[in-house]
């Protein structure tokens, strides 16, 4: 079985593994308006497993960004709203934020300036179904009313769509890790690495992020890069990171590995980083095709991609999802409920205690005792336990984070706001 069931979006020629309707405030000022619209549909679910919902991406961005930050925030909004898992999006606009330019009126010039930050027009150009409500024009209560009407209509249309067979080479998954413990580096991450190898062999695309966590494993990373251009990009990224990180460490007196890491047996940064980086695969045949910026669109042509992003869970996941990932596989040792607003986040652990304790949070336990008792290799184990589960989730079964209603979303900031 190397296919999954997904929704086909003819206009955009993409497959989505969910059929969500997204409510996205374009600035933080209208978070509450968006929330009020969302709360009308909090219980609304559709699809075979009731996996599709109205989701709300509230955040603290969209206004007063300086320079580069504005571009990053814009790319994140654009990326999440045009994620293949989204059927349609309602933009709740204030009217005066940085991305609040209203849609063109009929008869107005239809040309879209690609350098401008016109969220509505850019989404239309990408073929995304998008609706608009302006709070400064309508007022609070009326904006809620208009928004509810738009969403109702979109749900009605979304319900009509049926899942069809989807080849895996149309699917992008992300990998990440957080709240680690020694079992993450020893078992969970290498196991996900085997799954990544397998998934790419089947034609899929995989993207990983969390740049700060690869420092120390440069040798390993470069062994997976063949293209000169990618090598250069990776080198430049790592150099910047090292300078940045060492500076922070020296001035703030923080360290990596942390005292906690050291106490749990990790000696050097190389050891720590290898433990996390092995989640990107073991096969020497698979190369890192390109190094992408945060929230940049991931090419859907199979293979492995590296996206710049912080080590922090929320933003790493948001970047990957804004890049167009259908689902994320996330390893953890101590356990974290984190999810994503539009994509299923599958949590994997190799710590039995965590799995038993947090049964409602963690999706998959990798039964490492089988390595010792039945002499299974980690590879066999990973493919057996993870691959089928991944296909099930892609085909519609909600993962634990979705069942818990996690709608995590955040915008990366390099500078302070004005």
């Amino acid at each position: 079985m190397d296919k999954c069931l997904a929704y086909y979006r003819e206009k955009r020629k993409v497959y989505g593994v969910r059929n969500h309707v997204l409510i996205l405030p374009t600035t933080f000022c209208v978070n509450n308006v968006a929330y009020r619209i969302w709360s009308h549909f909090a219980e609304e679910k559709w699809g075979e497993y009731e996996e599709n919902k109205v989701v709300l991406a509230s955040h603290d961005a969209g206004c007063c960004h300086v320079g580069f930050d504005r571009e990053v925030a814009f790319r994140t909004f654009l990326g999440v709203a045009s994620n293949p898992n989204v059927y349609g999006v309602l933009l709740v606009s204030l009217g005066c934020g940085q991305f609040c330019k209203p849609p063109l009126k009929p008869g107005e010039d239809k040309k879209v300036n690609l350098m401008s930050f016109e969220l509505y027009d850019r989404l239309v150009k990408r073929g995304v179904k998008v609706k608009w409500v302006n709070v400064q024009e309508a007022g609070f209560e009326k904006a809620v009313k208009i928004g509810v009407k738009h969403v109702e209509r979109m749900i009605k249309e979304a319900r009509k769509l049926e899942r069809v067979e989807c080849p895996l080479d149309k699917i992008v998954i992300g990998v990440g890790n957080g709240a680690s413990d020694p079992t993450s580096g020893l078992f969970a991450n290498p196991a996900v690495g085997h799954l990544v190898d397998y998934f790419i062999e089947k034609g899929g695309t995989v993207v990983f992020s969390q740049s700060t966590e690869v420092l120390g494993a440069e040798e390993y990373l470069f062994s997976k890069v063949r293209r000169e251009k990618t090598k250069l990009k990776l080198k430049r990224l790592l150099e910047t990171l090292i300078v940045f990180k060492e500076g922070l460490e020296e001035y703030l007196g923080v360290s990596d590995p942390t005292p906690g890491n050291i106490e749990s047996g990790i000696s050097t940064l190389a050891e720590k980083s290898l433990g996390t980086v092995l989640k990107i695969g073991h096969s020497r045949k698979i190369e890192i095709k390109d190094v992408l910026s945060f929230a940049e669109k991931v090419p859907r042509n199979g293979g492995l991609y590296f996206m710049d992003g912080p080590g922090e869970d929320l933003l790493a996941i948001t970047g990957i999802v804004a890049g167009g990932a259908h689902a994320v596989i996330f390893t953890t040792g101590l356990g974290t409920p984190i999810g994503s607003v539009v994509a299923p986040v599958i949590k994997v652990t190799a710590n039995k205690e965590t799995f038993t304790k947090l049964a409602d949070i963690i999706d998959v336990y990798i039964p490492v005792e089988k390595i010792f008792e039945e002499k299974m290799t980690l590879k066999e184990l990973a493919v057996k336990v993870l691959y089928d589960y991944l296909l099930k989730i892609l085909s519609g079964e909600p993962c634990k984070a979705e069942k818990l209603g996690q709608m995590d979303f955040g915008v990366r900031e390099y500078w302070m706001k004005l």
């Binding site: 001035y251 360290s255 047996g265 000696s267 050891e271 290898l274 008792e373």
Partner: protein, 193 residues
């Protein structure tokens, strides 16, 4: 039953303890996909998740885990001994004096240091960089060029006579002994970290 010593890659020279290992006892070494590949007699206590040397790792040769180098041995590591910060470093390939000249901050003064006094790790300066966390207590990093006040950063400008290499290896030997003492009494002091 789950074996207690887990080797990840065939080329590794260290393995991970999956449980606390007592000293002077024999444990079977399990390699992924292969089963039991041998046994190791511990020379020290090895706490859970810590690494134990499977073969003799000579000074300055790489310590291999996951099939890759995770650092260099700073002394000869005997098989069966615990492998941690006290006997490996990420890389020794640098000149310390040069780093300081380039603006590297050594640490923060713990007390007021008078002009001409020697500056020593742990004694009167708290290191800020992980490279120092494995430095033995009292490692001399230079001489105060002027009076350094408590909490002031120790760096180029207030320190002279910075050694080219810190010469940890000799001092490591004593530290390793100290470390093993901690392991044997079961008390791990991380106060300098």
């Amino acid at each position: 039953m789950i074996p207690l010593v887990y080797k990840i890659n065939p080329v590794d020279n260290v393995a991970t303890a999956l449980s606390d290992l007592e000293k002077f006892k024999k444990y079977e070494v399990f390699e992924e996909g292969k089963g039991i590949v041998g046994e190791i007699e511990t020379k020290t206590r090895v706490p859970k998740w810590y690494k134990v040397a499977l073969v003799k790792i000579p000074e300055e040769s790489p310590v291999l885990k996951f099939g890759y180098s995770i650092g260099l041995a700073v002394i000869d590591i005997e098989p069966g001994t615990v492998v941690h910060l006290t006997n490996i470093v990420l890389s020794e390939d640098y000149s310390f004096a040069e780093l300081v000249e380039r603006g590297f901050i050594i640490g923060r003064a713990l007390v007021n240091i008078d002009k001409g006094d020697s500056v020593r790790i742990g004694k009167n300066v708290k290191p800020l960089h992980p490279a120092f966390y494995s430095a033995p207590y009292g490692t001399k990093v230079g001489i105060a060029a002027k009076r350094i006040l408590e909490d002031e950063l120790v760096r180029l400008g207030n320190i002279i006579d910075v050694p080219h290499k810190l010469g940890w290896n000799e001092k490591y030997r004593s530290l390793v002994k100290e470390f093993y003492k901690f392991l044997n009494t079961g008390v791990m002091s991380m106060s300098r970290v």
